[in-house]
Assembly symmetry: none
Homo-oligomer: 219 residues x 4
Amino acid sequence: MEQPRSSGADSGDGAADDPRAGGRGKAPRTERGRRTLRKLLDAAAVEFGEHGFHEASISAITRRAGTALGSFYTYFDSKEEIFQALVRYMSEQLRDHVTPIVQAAPDEIAAEHAGLHSFLGFVREHKEIYRIIDEAEFVDYASYRRHYETTVERMRQRLAAGAARGEIRPDAGEVHAWAIAGMNVFLGMRYGLWDADADIDAVARIANDLLANGLAKKG
Amino acid sequence: MEQPRSSGADSGDGAADDPRAGGRGKAPRTERGRRTLRKLLDAAAVEFGEHGFHEASISAITRRAGTALGSFYTYFDSKEEIFQALVRYMSEQLRDHVTPIVQAAPDEIAAEHAGLHSFLGFVREHKEIYRIIDEAEFVDYASYRRHYETTVERMRQRLAAGAARGEIRPDAGEVHAWAIAGMNVFLGMRYGLWDADADIDAVARIANDLLANGLAKKG
Amino acid sequence: MEQPRSSGADSGDGAADDPRAGGRGKAPRTERGRRTLRKLLDAAAVEFGEHGFHEASISAITRRAGTALGSFYTYFDSKEEIFQALVRYMSEQLRDHVTPIVQAAPDEIAAEHAGLHSFLGFVREHKEIYRIIDEAEFVDYASYRRHYETTVERMRQRLAAGAARGEIRPDAGEVHAWAIAGMNVFLGMRYGLWDADADIDAVARIANDLLANGLAKKG
Amino acid sequence: MEQPRSSGADSGDGAADDPRAGGRGKAPRTERGRRTLRKLLDAAAVEFGEHGFHEASISAITRRAGTALGSFYTYFDSKEEIFQALVRYMSEQLRDHVTPIVQAAPDEIAAEHAGLHSFLGFVREHKEIYRIIDEAEFVDYASYRRHYETTVERMRQRLAAGAARGEIRPDAGEVHAWAIAGMNVFLGMRYGLWDADADIDAVARIANDLLANGLAKKG
DNA sequence: AATGAATGAGAATTCATTCAT
DNA sequence: GATGAATGAATTCTCATTCAT
């Protein structure tokens, strides 16, 4: 079965510092323009997060941004384009939130614990980011795949490094990485997104223990 | 953050087997009507699977079904309603495919292996089902939650039973169930949906081993 | 210099009887539909004739036709499409008006006289037709060329027949036909369109005499 | 039937040679300004010639001219105004090309031959000029009429002079002039614009012979 | 029940023109 | 004068839903 969904252009890897810079929309050349572009992106994040891609309208975005409708098209060619820019931006924000915490962990098992824990916290704080990335599956399939493939690849490398250091089983590979990613995402949805009162610490602990020791009964 | 997405009315639980029952369009009274309803559901499954909810149009569905546009409203009140009916139907199909296989397993670890394996096979055979259920997150949130909550609850009960039988760790609970579900779904996406050539047997084996024994290095 | 104007599909030669039938828009299948289609075409003729293609709006057309805006799209895919249908229709109307008159003429010189005379009368009665066909040069180039190439070709055949019958110079050919056509069109514009009081009979007589005898001074 | 098309203000007659004069944008006072104005006019000629008035955009013109969008309005009040300036300018260019050639002819018949011949050559060299003038019928009706009325009036005076000199029939008048103009324009379109390979010399010869001697069969 | 035409609210998008720098 | 961002009216087109037959 084919998949003729919109995919959008893959505009390279994005500049490093200001994630809203190069590659997204038409770059503003004045300070005023830069301000407007930022207002639009912020407004779009809120609109898409609250109403989803299809219910969000460009006029609602510009209304929220406090700009004229036409100004949107100064920076983006379409609703799809700003969505794509947003997915990339949020994917980077998530990575920037999680990465340092993970890297500070003493070993690989602890790293995965830290990763899940910080992810759960992030989801709870930024529900709209979770939503936007998830909806990309149906709006901008290429961005969606890029996000998860990138994320999982980072995780796979961590596993490989941990295995090399002898911290975890030596055969840990891609399948394990996808499995862990899926676990994290579902726990994020269930306990970060749906259940405002869930004990995130406990969830992360339980899941990490499952990961570390599996289901098998201990002697 | 609010969640004001359209969610559709949750029309009770509807009997499982009779396709004329609640949740699947207005019951037709003649044989001819029953045929039309079935044609519409089949056509909608293909359309939604191929183009997604928003790109699919009622007229495309009726065109594919070979019925008049107006006939659609003889059986469904809205586009959302047929989507909802479909989600429920596919959720049941998936369950009906997996359940007997899982139940035939000798113990809980084997059951989870069988569950993942049959899920991977099912996804590969019925990609549109995966898509429709997943898109429900953005079209009919209630159906989406119902599907996963039901699915995970079944899994939790299995874990509890397995624990009671002493096959797995005694503390296996809801968090474990969500973790396993997420793992399965992501592996289904990655290896069932995206990668037509993946070795599904190997994937299921690796994942089940992770589940059974965890990441920790074995003596 | 290229000519990337819209040209529209050339949908064959058009059915014979009802010029609004086959080939244009989506054919209505009910009597009611046929009425609506006709109302739209009539309204479009008036709008395009009065305001030109670009100033005319689809909503103005449907308002004048007394239909809903959306009904337009039941029969036409775009403003260009109805314009194209109209050009063809008007080209045929003009031909149907002129042809029998020309054919009744006793010889070729008289035929050209009758042709110009009836054309002048037609332009004066149906200014909007003249406008629509002329504007096609900038809206639907293919239709424009088709109209004139068809018209001139008919004229060329008349000249050839007249020459064969020995009524006019034997070398009369394509260039003569284009020359006569241009003459007719400009006289139509100047005396049919611009000058409501012009003596059309006199104009036709003078032009036909020029055609018949040229500029050269008579003995 | 009314004729409420936009026609633009007819800003007097404007001197002929100085491009800074009336009708061609607001007079720049510096050399730099004069250069910008010229660049805009050149760019507009190409854009209008290639895409027509409605498809051409101010931003495309300024982009091509290498100026800022806003600079356009330093020199012109509107899109219509630059179009009007262009029509006048091109009308003059055409006249300046044809007039000396016509005036060098020994008699009136030869003059019309030279006129058509040089017109055909000019059209082939400057297709965009033909297009712009022709489109004026639908953009700036006043300019369009002025162009043809002026052109035909010049021709009428030539005919009158030729008749006075006894070179052609004494009754040659306005109708003849419009007829000849139409002939020329259509031959220009057919053989100058559409048919890049046409033998322009032959066309001019055939048409001039028609003009000189008419259709009637010679003894 | 079936048919297919009619409806109209709603959305995206364009671009001439204005304005602040 | 030059620049380029901002503006917003206007337009086309879509499509779920309703209705007359």
